[in-house]
Symmetry: C3
Subunit: 663 residues, 3 copies
């Protein structure tokens, strides 16, 4: 299957990055000129402009200066490049903060910020919204027909929150719409606990270390509200763009599993998903990080279920990391190809040219302060550019998957805030990534979805630690199993409903029948302590959390090896309808998950990217444009590897090498 | 000796816990009904109600709703249960915070809190005090003759502090009453240091990280004042209760060694002491924690020198611990019996039924979210209930002790704040617990008193790190020795007077003659460094703090083994009058304390609970009702144990087992 | 060469310390009298008075009380002592804070402090400045002709910062003077990054965690401004003193490498440098700490390039250290003689007598709370007093050095704030101290200068991590090499200009020709990772930071041993003019620096204090009065040492012993 290219009429993998010519307005004759000479040498076909240009575009209130941007856009067009054009709302001018101090954010201690940094504006502020509309409208009008205009880049890395009086008002309005009555809210938040019952909507305040910080329902709804604020603000930002340039796709650059926004919700309003990927490669054995990055790519791709944009990545050191390590040889190619393998149709960097000052002046860039093409980093980027030139056939190609893993922001919010279990080590995100890693090692493609998405496409559905069951989810899982699906759940499943109220009548609540078990208690283990699950005679180490369960129809596949619950069930399967529902009762290392998902894969007949087993640290992914399949094989270690692609077809890989073969 | 039962006309050990039917007002027919069915199965004879019920009782200002509580009290009466009835001041309604914002606490940075959490009210606020009086009066009037009413539970876990202008005023008034003149205050606080001399009472402010934080006299008096605020507030809360229901005992649930309140001072106004005990049992070798919990029980019992209430404990996991571990088999019985062994006449839990929402929804409870009697935790609690039914003879029984250990809040305040020695590792509390542990291992009962209590009952008096000598204490210790007592002091004794002004003329100040030594200097050791004390040819490791002393009449029993003070005295005894005063100059491990107190016990003829030596991890305590003695023998380890109770009388204990035998 | 004595007409090494008789006004007959009896026994010839005496001198606004100070000064004079007389501005009276709250500091979150602690006043406040002038004028007038007056001690340990509106105004004014135009400021701070361009001076605010915290140019200028505030305040404080007592030297006690003030800048206005030295001696092997303390002494001496004052040191425990360890035997003599060896003409303590209360009551003092001369600490101090009596010939003696090491506050500010490299482990200070230590081990004297000082005196110039090249520095270094000097630079050199804007065209920027290399990239290593430099066949471990360089005329002396840059140059020398410029590309342990500087020393013919090699932990320094040379040989370990002073002349040292021999 093949999706249309992200930028209509530009059927190439985009290669480029953030570009800030407005930092070099005094050096047009030298720096700008060099910049354009070097794009060709680097194989760059796209640049992202205008991200933090508000003061350059509107140096004083109502005084707009588009001339320099006209020149930049023209340069890009002259070089046949696609511009990713940003709205500037990520950082506002100092004059605006001074004239309209109400646009500055207020923190959870109710202190209003001073001007500074970025993302320091209240999303509720009518003035700020009006200023955003004004400049976005002008941008859209000015460049609506510009040949370079390819994609709208909305703001930059949305995030944070505001507790100002305007936001408190909006929060209360949002709650009223959600609950209708205070009684309903009081019951949903279980406010009778500690005498928290509200008798007037005005009594409700956002969570604060100086006030209420323990009411889970309030905190959960505050996170939902904050998340919705971004959806609303995005719609506000894009309204003029959609009106004036309806055919230009809009996106905003996401940040993997950034916890502040439910990206599955935000994705509903994006045209294309994009993200900023900054793995801290060690250059030694990067298997774990390779798998983790693969998860993030799979997640971002699944948001829109089609090719995505790698909007930012570092061509060298990431300066804000505690250790700003250089990329080893081959690593830059590897990280770029991995993104494409997982569905990216762009390889973009922060940044094209290093700034001379400011907090990111030592961040990797294609063009260093030194300024020439004669650096190792430039050559690495140029090699990527060269390779991408030959990959037009991959643009829009699908990444087919029959397995989905659930990663759900609202579950994460609940578990991040849980009081109980191992509250500082609940590790929801790491747990989901661990389950995904087992498939990554097997060379089996997976989608990452949240619990609200359809399960129809899938044969295997994995839901690690599905603590919260949002409305209808249990029913849809049960139907999935009934119609023949393979479902896997783990400890800490089905404890709570969407309000974080526990289910009565025995965990896993509405999934008790589906899984055929009752979870009576859960034991938390001290760091360093362990138990085991003995499966087919082999003991696997388990730790952190061990649930004590009773079979109610499910078959016991494996039991605990120790402690007072030795011999009790620890791994079960319930046959239901045409399907099976598995339950893993304790947290384990990779060994159990590898063996378990190996069995599941065989059982469900899931296709692996290569025939032979994948050596440690080697990843294999396929992109399929409906006519051709492209197999990406990537070595995430510092050692050479050998593997079997298909019967009699061997492949060897140098350290960190990527090979791409058509199948 | 036998004390009267806590609840007159209810001569049983109370078994029950916190109960919040106001969270289930919509489910009276189901949940409330089940609750009453299950009390019988669990052997529960008491429930604590109304703790956080202010909004349920007064949903709007002046609108009272007692009907639901009437029903609850009637249900308890109908089931023959004793109600522990709480005043609701631990958490106030949101409407009150909104209408009277001055009742909200102000933190030490002078920020007024928002509404939220609990214990977030200013104790000085006239409005808050008036609201408390109003509701407490109504409660007392309504239930004065109710057959269920057993004990008044005042508020909940008093704690915290407030720095609002009203509290500043009260603090200054308290200081004026204490010092009369500014000159006296200036000298007591030694304000000439760093030019801190006050020239007007209005210049005095409570300690703050934004202001004064180094003046020890100020900080000490602030702690005293805060502590007195709670005494005063308790008297305010109980005034209507005492007037209307003079025969119903009042208590408030304490928290072991919570540093914010001098419990010996607060205990003066309580009718009975009670506390909330939440040890984090590991289920492996819990010897250290068993001894620590024993110390807390002994402390709480000694506050009123009579049986106390175990007001809260967890029947299973304690959800707010970093690791919410389950109780191993036998552990719940063990923790319950340990309390009784040390003088508790109640075994109560937080909580009877788990709440569905809120920050403690995963805290252990007799009735789980699942809701039935068919859980391990329910069976554990029911077993305790069953055993307690047979223990009426223990109600009011004494726990006789001839040894007292001094734990003094005001010493702790001084040492927690000391600048010098090992300021972050002064470890006063741990040191006192360490000395207590030696007696626990010997099976010898001890009281825990502060330095203001009478020493008359005792033959042996231990005062670890008695840094501060409050007025008259040195004289009373000296008299204790003169009349034949055995006194033990350690390093860091007698440095300061009640104002934290150092004694001039050589440490240990007024105890120099009693102990027959001069402490010239004290050496602090780096973590991991050690020295030794060589006693009777055996070297004992010492660390942290080593005092360099000179004998002035005292006999040297042991000397330092190393460093530049090798051979200098480290353990001394001074014979004075009919008694002896020992001095231990350095911090040691258990080995030295075990051997030393073994010698002291033999020398003073202290009686041990059992004849044979106690194996590691086994504790033995006696309760004596004047006619019968009940020996509790408890195994705090995961291994079976054997011991000799008396000549030819052996006992064996399973892991974590408790045996009780009449002697 | 010989400098005049610090106190004219007092040609002795000063021995004494801080003295606070105003804490003992009620005890004149006892305490004051004892104090004067004990000065003779302790060999004390100087006391520092009045440091925190403002409330004693001005208990109410405008009411001055000098009578007690008259008595003190007279006592000192009667005992032939030199008074170090302090201005009291280090801590202001409470009445002043209450009447003029605007004098209280405002922190970076814009909260105004409450009264308390010390150094809690705004340096911009006109009222505070006026109060300081008033009291300083009175002090100077009253004691202008007093025979005891020796040195003015201005305030105490200047430090901190204030963000109040007055300071914001002064900051903006300072910026206007510095940059003239906003355009110049915007370019210098590279504000186009993240849209930070200022369009009005009033938009500029000092850095804040609530506002701007990432703009390096702003933060750097804020540090410069804060530093200049102290210079300005010092000039304000000393103006009346200079007018009334022009011949009395003024100083303020510095704190080694305290980062808040550029001491090289402040030193320009001091008459004599002084500092407070509080090494935490372990009493075991104190080699590292001995070298570090030597660095601080060398730095303080170099500030004025003449003998300095050891204004404070502890004669025993330093109470505010986490571990308040006692001095082992000989250690107090050692630390005192080390200061003199490095150019101190005083040995002074905090404090002469311990205070009874306050946060420093357990700090070491000559006179303990016990009060007599019969303590170990008193005897230690008296022994120092006795030895110093025989050292009049050393007063004013030079400490000649041909080598200078650059330690530059402005480089430190940049590197402390760098985003990149190893941002939390940039370790500029430790790196410079490491290079200094190599010379300390060789027994070669060094000065410590900043990059603005003249290099004329020196033959060898070491500039570790000279990240920032302030104006003219590169040119002066180049000239230094051209005229025959030996220059040593390291990784992270020449990255930025004085605004922290990076140099374009290749690092090390303006030093590229001088060093004959181009630094293309820098690799940061994870903790525990390492590489090696192989020099003359010997591998030396390198870690943290490894720069990848290319020779451009420089000769490669050593290459990397591993990683993808194995074999690339790592140690180079460029011959230029009559001199040589060395470059060390990676961070190493002492072994490489010891061997490297051994070679440099031989090559440059640097003189060592003794002929034979110095054993581990032994330091040797010379003071030269032009006629005699005094060799100090000091053992910083707990083991005896032997060494060869000159041909056939051996010396042995007991643990921590100091020997002084005339050469």
């Amino acid at each position: 299957m093949r999706y249309p290219p992200i930028v209509p009429r530009f059927p190439h993998i985009l290669h480029g990055g953030d570009y800030n010519p407005d930092q070099w307005l005094r050096w047009k004759d030298t720096i700008w000129k060099e910049d354009m000479r070097l794009v060709r040498l680097a194989g760059v076909n796209s640049l992202t402009v205008g991200i933090f240009s508000w003061t350059a575009l509107e140096p004083r209130e109502g005084e707009y200066r588009f001339e320099w941007l006209d020149e930049v856009m023209d340069m890009l067009a002259a070089n046949g490049m696609a511009a990713v054009l940003a709205t500037p709302s990520g950082a506002k001018p100092a004059w605006m903060s001074r004239k309209y101090p109400e646009i500055l954010r207020v923190n959870d201690r109710r202190q209003r910020n001073l001007h500074g940094e970025r993302h320091n504006h209240c999303l509720s502020s009518p003035v700020y919204r009006q200023k955003v509309t004004a400049i976005n409208t002008r941008l859209a009008e000015r460049y609506r027909n510009h040949p370079a205009l390819g994609v709208w880049h909305i703001s930059n890395e949305y995030g944070g929150e505001c507790h100002c009086p305007l936001c408190q008002e909006r929060f209360r309005a949002w709650l009223k719409a959600r609950y209708q009555t205070l009684d309903a809210l009081n019951e949903a938040w279980w406010t009778a606990f500690w005498s928290h019952t509200y008798s007037d909507w005005e009594e409700i305040e956002s969570p604060s270390p100086l006030g209420e910080n323990g009411l889970h329902g309030l905190k959960l709804d505050w996170r939902r509200f904050t998340s919705e604020q971004f959806v609303d603000f995005y719609l506000h930002e894009t309204a003029p763009l959609k009106k004036i340039t309806p055919d230009v796709p809009c996106t905003t650059n996401l940040m993997g599993t950034y916890p502040g926004i439910d990206y599955f919700r935000l994705a509903e309003v994006l045209d294309v998903a994009s993200w900023d990927s900054y793995p801290q490669w060690t250059g030694v054995d990067d298997t774990g990080l390779g798998a983790r990055t693969a998860f993030m790519h799979d997640l971002t791709r699944s948001l829109k279920d089609k090719p995505f944009m790698l909007m930012e990545s570092s061509p060298s050191a990431t300066n804000w990391r505690p250790v700003a390590k250089l990329h080893r040889p081959n690593v830059h190619m590897l990280q770029s190809m991995q993104a494409v393998a997982h569905g990216a149709d762009t390889v973009q960097y922060f940044q094209y040219r290093k700034s001379r000052g400011g907090p990111e002046k030592f961040h990797g860039a294609i063009i260093d302060h030194e300024g020439s093409e004669h650096t190792r980093v430039f050559r690495d980027a140029a090699a990527v550019g060269e390779r991408l030139k030959g990959m037009d056939a991959i643009v829009g190609a699908d990444t087919p998957a029959r397995t989905a893993i659930i990663y759900d922001w609202q579950v994460r919010w609940s578990l991040d805030d849980v009081k109980g279990l191992l509250q500082d080590k609940t590790n929801y995100e790491e747990t989901v990534i661990g389950h995904h890693r087992a498939f990554w090692k097997l060379g089996i493609a997976t989608d990452i979805i949240d619990s609200t998405r359809s399960f129809d496409k899938y044969d295997v559905l994995i839901a690690p630690m599905l603590y919260m069951l949002r409305p209808g989810v249990a029913e849809r899982i049960d139907a999935f199993v009934e119609r023949g699906g393979t479902f896997v759940a783990t400890y800490v499943t089905g404890y709570a409903d969407e309000h974080d109220l526990t289910h009565l009548g025995g965990f896993p609540g509405p999934l008790r029948k589906t899984l055929g078990i009752w979870c009576e208690e859960i034991d938390a283990l001290f760091p360093g302590d362990e138990n085991s699950i003995v499966w087919a005679g082999k003991p696997y180490r388990v730790f952190d959390l061990c649930e004590l369960i009773h079979g109610e129809g499910a078959e016991t596949l494996a039991a605990y090896g120790g402690d007072f619950y030795a011999g009790e069930p620890a791994l079960t399967v319930n046959r239901r309808g045409k399907g099976k529902a598995y339950f893993i009762a304790a947290r384990s290392g990779d060994d159990l998950l590898d063996d378990f998902y190996g069995m599941i894969a065989r059982d469900a007949g899931l296709e692996r990217a290569v025939e032979g087993p994948l050596p440690w640290g080697v990843s294999a992914r396929v992109r399929d444009n409906g006519e051709q399949k492209f197999l990406f094989v990537m070595n995430f270690t510092h050692e050479p590897k050998e593997l079997t692609i298909a019967q009699g077809e061997k492949m060897s890989l140098a350290p960190f090498e990527t090979k791409i073969v058509e199948r």
